[in-house]
Amino acid sequence: MSRARWIATGVLIAVFVLALFASAFAPAPYAKQFRNDTDHPPSTQFPLGTDELGRDRLSRLLYGMRISLLLAPAAALISTALAAIIGGAGAYLGGTWDRATNMFIDLFLSLPWLFLLLTLRALLPLDIPPFTSVVVTFALLGILGWAASARIVAASVRSIRSSEFLLQARAAGCKPSRLLFRHVLPNVKPILLAQFWISVPLFILTEANLGMLGLGVTEPLPSWGNLLRELENYTALRHSPWLWVPLLSLVLVVSLFQFALGTEEPA
């Protein structure tokens, strides 16, 4: 493993420890409102300042990271797995299966999911605990977010299926299972990994937007997504550069993930 990868892994572990033991590191409870110190700039008491309700930003970031770091990759894993199964299987089987899968993916992409989510929220009980709401939200994102990735996976599998090396393997009498696991999947792996890493920040941001529909992480629970909503206030961003910290930390963590777990280029 390269030195850069070691460093990335080390920093990632540190971030995970910080997030998992947020209660030990956070200067204050994430929901506590210091109402006389709203929109406070960074200070010794509040290292990242306070939000509009006087809640300590650093504490909310640490707790928010914990939720998002656990659930967004889980949702990304679900959606990537679905993309691999549906898109990959259709393209690998070819012919009618491929056409049917393509149609299904197109249909799925064209459906107005916003209305489905609204209906779902309307059907959910109002007294659903905040943590359940979070899990439901990320599970939904995972289940609904596979289609765009599936199209890319299908295109890749289609190209592998018609490649010469696969033709030779087939001609050499390889069984379908061996073809799939020894020849197709290893070649699709970089694409799946790329789709996974794209999905993680995407789901974190989507969760923030779902908050507008009352479906995301509900108050007072913090998430990376709802911390990023503060970036909507562009005037405040000019005068309060510390508001960029959640975004920068998100970019950092996603980059570290890619460094630590990404496919290493051959020397």
Partner: protein, 555 residues
């Protein structure tokens, strides 16, 4: 020999200097005299915004905000409610008289008035417009309050005298004519605001872009110096729903006036240009929270018992820190509510109402009386049910979302767990109007009318907007029956003092029973460009251009 410092009297230099001084004095005098009667900078195009395209340009059909603002700027009315003084004043009617116990009103019309196309205004136009407003087949929202008076006989007594006789008396009858723009007889009921008696007429409309109003050259009103009004040549009303974009364009000088700024945007503008951002103090808009008391609501019976208890509602009211709601959620641009009317409603607000204190001990005492106990930080009812409820509001409204979080923490102090759920507006409407599947809701019901009759659609037990328990066949509680009685009493007399006394009773019962917890009265926040002259913003709509005919632009 002349000593320096001494002057030779009668020298030619002296004479020239005296002449020059005389000329300058004359010039100054002439300038001073002309500036006294000089009319403000005329011309120019004032640019404001409306949030949506107007649904109609027919002033009798105006209902939503955009159409109503156009109606206000274009419509000539018999009586105008002065937005600043909040008193009725004659416009097209020089004078009026209400008699027959509030069943009859007689108008003396202003002579010499012309429509914007130069045609003469007459009693026939008034008769035709009022008849159209009263026509049930037109379904005019402006005519609805007049139709409450039953059958009406509208007729011209002479060329400048019109009388309307109703079957039943209507309290506060005069103010209803502030809403009815008089149209030419030939187009009454189907007018499009192009031929009007107001200061401006509609010249052009581009869907999704703007509505252009041009100056009415025949407008009857003149300023105190006798100059023809309005000063402006035109008003362009951009269709713009995004408040952030609106503020950016205001900063760029593309928009001159903004009504109803949200507190966050107000603060942004104030930090950059404190002169342009103006906080006018409490408006007549307030924020409320209510508990679901509908008998058939699909919520647990024990929750219905809590919500129907006056002590429970009162305790919640006492446990909410309204000062913090105003200071934190509205950035200090709101005032803790005292009751169902804001003090901005100068005449009808009940001065005897006391501010609601923030007192958690008093709240717990009241809850104790109902058998609630607090163990290990959790409040439980007499049957051991932990007290928790969901509070819904519309997502995307930042001050309201902040209020929800503040209330959540306030009630946590007395052991109540609030599940705060912002929802899209359609889901809220579905829950509070149809399924009744909710515990508590926080919204702002906008007051559009200063008169108590404007409250009837909320406070009468039979009303659809009686949100905590709507459309009751008969009053569910004794206090609701009392409110119904006083509302009817105030509507059946013409004596303003008597009406006030009756409506004070309504306000006092409402404050005592707390079916709606009034939280804060929002301040009226506006933006006024320094280029706009004679701007005198008020808390009533349209806040910044209620006196549009007197506004002018600095060149």
């Amino acid at each position: 020999m002349r000593a320096s410092g001494h002057r030779v009297i009668g020298s030619s230099g002296e004479v020239r200097a005296r002449r020059l001084f005389g000329c300058l004095l004359m010039l100054a005098l002439v300038l001073a005299l002309t500036s006294c009667s000089r009319k403000p900078e005329s011309g120019g195009e004032l640019r404001v915004t409306i949030k949506t395209d107007p649904k109609t340009l027919n002033p009798l059909m105006a209902e939503e905000d955009a159409s109503d603002r156009i109606r206000y700027l274009t419509g000539g009315v018999l009586i105008r409610v002065n937005r600043k003084e909040q008193e009725n004043q004659g416009e097209l009617a020089e004078s009026w008289k209400v008699d027959e116990g509030g069943r009859r009103i007689t108008f003396d019309l202003r002579p010499g008035v012309k429509f914007s196309d130069g045609s003469d205004f007459s009693a026939g136009d008034v008769v035709a417009t009022i008849k159209a407003a009263l026509d049930p087949s037109l379904h005019s929202p402006k005519g609805d309050p007049l139709r409450a008076g039953g059958k009406a006989d509208v007729r011209a007594l002479s060329g400048n005298e019109v009388v309307i006789e109703f079957e039943h008396p209507i309290a506060g009858l005069e103010r209803l004519f502030d809403e009815i723009a008089i149209s030419p007889e030939r187009v009454a009921g189907k007018a499009d605001s192009s031929v009007v008696l107001g200061p401006f007429s509609v010249a052009e409309q581009r869907a999704g872009e703007y509505v252009l109003l041009k100056r009415n050259p025949y407008y009857w009103k003149k300023d105190s110096a006798g100059h023809q009004l309005p000063y402006l040549n035109a008003i362009r009303m951009y269709v713009l729903s995004n408040r952030d974009t609106e503020l950016i364009r205001f900063r760029q000088g593309d928009i001159h006036l903004i009504d109803g700024l949200p507190p966050d945007l107000y603060e942004q503008l104030h930090s950059e240009d404190s002169g342009a951002a103006r906080d006018l103090g409490p408006s007549i808009e307030s924020e409320q929270l209510w508990f679901n008391q509908v008998a058939k609501a699909p919520i647990p019976v024990y929750k219905k018992t809590w919500f129907r208890s006056r002590n429970f509602r009162r305790a919640i009211s006492l446990a909410i820190n309204r000062s913090d709601l105003a200071r934190v959620a509205f950035r200090g641009h709101a005032t803790p509510s005292v009751g169902l009317l804001s003090p901005a409603n100068k005449f009808w607000f009940d001065q005897n109402l006391k501010p609601i204190p923030y007192d958690t001990n008093a709240a717990l005492d009241l809850l104790k009386q109902d058998g609630f106990t607090r163990t290990e930080g959790t409040l439980k009812d007499r049957n051991g049910n932990p007290v928790n409820f969901s509070l819904i509001t519309n997502a995307g409204n930042k001050p309201r979302e902040r209020m929800g979080s503040l209330i959540q923490q306030d009630l946590q102090q007395i052991g109540i767990n609030v599940n705060f759920v912002p929802l899209d507006f359609a889901s809220i409407a579905e829950r509070i109007m149809k399924t009744y599947d909710y515990d508590a809701c926080m919204l702002g019901l906008t007051n559009v009318d200063l008169d108590p009759n404007g409250q009837v659609n909320v406070w009468m037990s039979s009303a659809d907007l009686h949100q905590w328990n709507p459309a009751q066949k008969s009053p569910a509680t004794e206090w609701e029956a009392q409110i119904d009685k006083y509302l009817r009493a105030q509507a059946s007399t013409l004596d303003r003092a008597e009406r006030k006394a009756d409506f004070d009773k309504v306000q006092e019962i409402a404050a005592d029973e707390d079916p709606m917890l009034y939280l804060v009265d929002k301040n009226a926040l506006v933006a006024v460009s320094p280029k706009v002259k004679n701007a005198d913003p008020v808390v009533l709509t349209p806040q910044t251009y209620w006196n549009a005919e007197y506004l002018s632009l600095e060149k």
